[in-house]
């Protein structure tokens, strides 16, 4: 009788452990692909693509203008959010500089104030000089620059990730 009870308890212990182990395994099997899918964007390689923003003759020396171009990694259903923008400045010597529109403080879109030759942020009052250096306010560093090139008469910007400063 005692042996039988001991066998029974041993069997119960085994079945309990088996159930817990199989339940845990099943949970892990479900969770792994879910977590992998959700975390996938963290492990994708950084996408950078040259995007045309206009013909060379469209940009005057000494002018800073907003240019629009396609994001470096748009998804098919992105709609207008697949577009992005930059401030493109053509220096008096003809060279190009492209600034991200994101304030380095917290990412709000900075505006170019032509008359004062300053970039100003509407959110927390960051101010940048025309070369992107910080003139006033809370931004910790200058505006992020994108590489620019001229290819076949087209000005192109190397689009990349949203700058996280």
């Amino acid at each position: 009788m005692a042996d039988s009870q001991q066998d029974c308890q041993g069997r119960r212990r085994f079945l309990a452990r088996l159930s817990v182990a199989l339940g845990s395994l099943a949970t892990a099997l479900i969770a792994l692909p879910v977590i992998g899918f959700l975390l996938a964007p963290l492990f994708e390689s950084i996408a950078r693509k040259w995007r045309p923003v206009g013909a060379l003759q469209d940009f005057e020396n000494g002018q800073t203008v907003a240019v629009k171009f396609e994001d470096a990694s748009p998804v098919p259903w992105a709609g207008v959010t697949g577009q992005t923008a930059a401030w493109l400045r053509r220096e008096p010597n003809g060279e190009f500089v492209a600034f991200a529109i994101n304030c380095t403080h917290l990412g709000c879109p900075v505006r170019w104030v032509e008359a004062a030759e300053l970039f100003m942020c509407p959110c927390h009052g960051g101010v940048y000089n025309r070369d992107g250096t910080v003139a006033a306010g809370p931004p910790p560093r200058p505006l992020v620059r994108y590489p620019v090139r001229v290819s076949d008469g087209q000005v192109e910007i190397l689009a990349g990730p949203t700058p996280i400063t």
Binding site: L39, P41, L42, E44, I46, A47, A66, K68, D71, A72, S73, P74, V75, P76, W77, A78, G79, V80, T81, G82, Q83, T84, A85, I101, N102, H105, L106, G107, C108, P109, V110, R111, V113, A115, A116, E117, L118, M120, P122, C123, H124, G125, V127, N129, A135, A136, G137, P138, P140, G160, P161, T162, I164, T165
Partner: protein, 469 residues
Amino acid sequence: MRFLKKAWEWFDARTDASKVVGPLMRHPVPPGGRYSGWMYIFGSATLFAFLIQVFTGIALATAYVSSAGQAFESLQWITNEAFLGRVLRGMHYFGASAMVLLVGIHMIRTFLTGSYKFPRELNWVVGVLLLGLTVLMGFTGQLLRWDQNGVWSTIVAAEQAGRVPIVGPWLARFIMGGQTVGGATLSRFFAYHVFFIPAIIFAMVGLHLVLVLRHGISEKPSASRPVDSKTYRAWYEDMLKREGVPFWPDAAWRDVVFGFLVVASVIFLAWRVGPPALTTPPDPTIIQAYPRPDWYLLWYFAVLAQMPPTAENFVIIGAPLLAGVCLLILPLIFSTGQRAPSRRPWAVASIALIVVMVGTLWIQGERSPWSPDFDPRPLPASVVQAATPEIAGGARFFETKGCQYCHAISGSGGQRGPDLTTVGDRLSPQLITLRILNGGHNMPPFASTLKPDEVTALVAFLQSRKTPP
């Protein structure tokens, strides 16, 4: 009627519903005084507000398209064309506002009456987690409007997450659902707002209610009866036996009355005021954007604008973490002792301090004096009072060279820099010239952008700004 009664009896005989729910509804609770009984209504009112969110959210989800390219248009259709769509969106917005407000009041009440003390410590911890989840729901919901404000608020959130040491860039990418704010971002926020966070809230609310039933509703605090963990349970059980009243309907009627007022207020505001206006489409190339959070986070918006740069990372990352940890460990440190507010002056003072601080920051966030005014009113001739052509020219430069974005004169212009209505009284022409050319005190230098004659005219104009004799 007889048919319904029979149907209920048939159902009850097979489910024992009345045997399960009945005792729960009639469980004894401390008697509520004429006034003190009303202090318990805020928890249930928060739950009513959450239920408004669930029902209106489900209805909105039947028409909302969680695609970055179409979400804005679908919301416009819901607001402007769908039958009762505007009211439904308004209810969802004011329901969220009510939930944030009520969960805050509920926590303040619980803190002031020491109801978080033994044996209800875990209830407080679950409540703190529910507060965090409520704020998360508010923030993700604001982004689902997917107008320009929503898009830029996502970037601001990603930037803040990016400040976290080591894992910051990964967190930012997780928030954006990729390397940029785009198609994947909205789909993810929709899933967080509609599935992930509500599922956790349901589980937490369930646990909160189970714990309320397990430990009972805290009785009105008394200065002569501090909490002793060795004797409290026995005393509480005894008190319930002596004085307890059934929750339904003796106590529940107050919850129902106040809950009804909350629901009626939300519907009234949704009907009269309507939902928050959708701004421009979510096109990241429209640079004329001014992202601001909804009212309940405006105080934090003010914090971000006014903190010194050296303290920024601590405030963005450390302060919420510290506040969360303090709230979570509060009942573990002060689990016994006095509950009466009259014997806990520090508790009362800390709540008063928090309310004043958040209130002041909220007003500052609403005014946002640090933001440039990109569309100031032109200075009227009566204000300029140009005695010379040079002063008239200076006034023109003041408007066109961007000075007015940050400085106001007689109420026209930004508040970022000092008001210059009477600057001629306090600064000499030399000092005005020096300040314009060199900047300083958070003002950029204009030496390289202004011509000498423009500076001269500006100085003449500003020097003429004096208190009228």
